[in-house]
Amino acid sequence: MSEEISRRKSTAAYAVAIVGTFLIVAALVGAMRRYTQPPPLDEKRITERSKALAELRAAETQALTTPGWVDKSKGIVRLPVDLAMEMVHRQWQSPAMARSNLLTRLEKATAVPPKAPEQPSEFE
């Protein structure tokens, strides 16, 4: 009986070995693919595009997270929202101070609308 079991075991081991030899060339193909796969055809384009994207993202992040001048002559700045909120909060700690030049600041911040055309357009 034990002889029978050991015979079966060796047959099973042999069967596994045979499957292994059947797949030996598949393994070769796998190795070939792993070590000799050429870079994709559009690799150059992929690197170029991802570089451009990274640059764009960096510029956007910079613009969103740091204050800076937009137009120094007109006194226009860009401000991250939380910084702006903090500034307003600080300013209104003394309401009198904040109120004193409110109108001037408002005027400065409000763009002058363009003059109305003298003659209405013929389409109106």
Partner: protein, 481 residues
Amino acid sequence: MSSKSAFQTATGDSLPADISCRWPLFVLLSGAVFWLLAGSILTLIGTIKFHAPDFLAEPAWLTYGRVRPAGLNAMIYGFCLPSALGLTLWLLARLGRTTLAGAIPVVFGGLLWHLGVGAGVVGVLSGDATGFEHLEFPSYAVAMIAASYLVLGVAGVLTFRQRAERGLFVTQWFLLAAIFWFPWIYSTATILTSVYPVRGMAQAVVGWWFSANLILVWFGLVGLGIVFYLLPRLLDRELESHYLAMFVFWMLILFGTWTGIPKTAPVPAWIPMMSKVTTVLAGLALLGAALILHRTLGADYRLLSTDPSLMFAGFAVASFVIAGFMGIAEVLSGASSMLHLSWYATARSWLQLYGFFAMALFAGIYYVWPQLTGRPFPLPRLVRLHFWLAASGVMLAVIPLAVGGIVQDGNHANPEMAFVDVAKGTLTFLRISSIGDVLTLAGHFLLALNVLLAIGAFCWDRVRIALRTATIELQEQGVNS
């Protein structure tokens, strides 16, 4: 009929090898015969389109570009491979004087194989073909076929291992090499064309490499293996000679493996050139095979007619040799010749696939089947009729196509001739060749009829014996009480 006839050697008592192979081979071979019929019907539908282009044009799944690969793949993967594997298992068991290892897994493996072929044929017809010749089956079918092959192949090698007769007959060389060959080429080709495809034309080179390895080398190994077993068996003499057979084996695996790249292939020139040289060198295997047939028969070719299996086998060897030389002529034709893109190439590959391999398989099936069931085929006359239908069918298909291909090539080389006229010039030949297709199809019906009746008779025998035993037991019980 000679005393060595397959029908008469098959006695009531089957050998242990036959009994263990019975159900596995029933499954493999009867499924194969089904696909043989399906494949030749699909091929015929494709051929009719050359008589009437509008024939069955409306359904997408019956367009020429789908029925043609579906039919060819049904022939190769549905008929050729399972019947070749079935015969291989039987031969390994019989020559090793042992029984088939893992008969029950093989039955299920066979079922899975035919299921996989069904999925593949339906896949190709529905437009899922991969586009690589001889590898058209979509991945879901390939997975089933590959899984099934692992079962059949392991059973084959285990059967070989447990053989009681340690000395090897040359057929065992051929078959053992073939058992390993198929998974090696099939896995390479499938992975590199479908799973992780290589880039550009490298895919096509892998595909051509696979085709040559399947059609020339694998078919050659199994087909010649079967023939080299049948010839001495049925003639009751030695194979002349074993050394020559070994020579054929070596030439086939050394040179046949490098063939198959067409000369106009858009690849670096060394690849087709290499292929050209090896195609010529593989001619040595053809010479060897021809010499073996000639010397084993002792130059008396009338001996072949003593048994239908011998007739099939002799025809197979002749086709193998002729197809090989047609291939050599193809690669050696002039630089402006496009024979490899003409009907000549179709004729050559059909001669190799059907004239050689399918005929060798018919020889094997007609020899082995009666031994499995322990009784001759129910309609033995149809076996000879099948041979004549198949032989005339192959010749009627191959000769007009080859001639048509040569005419086509000649016209094609003349740029003054409009292409429409070149194409029309082949139609007559094509139409003659479809008569050949009809004849081979008729032969397939005869084979199917015999196989169906044989299985029916076998099962009926079983039922009758069981009934009789039961009756006797009942009677005995009646007497006793």
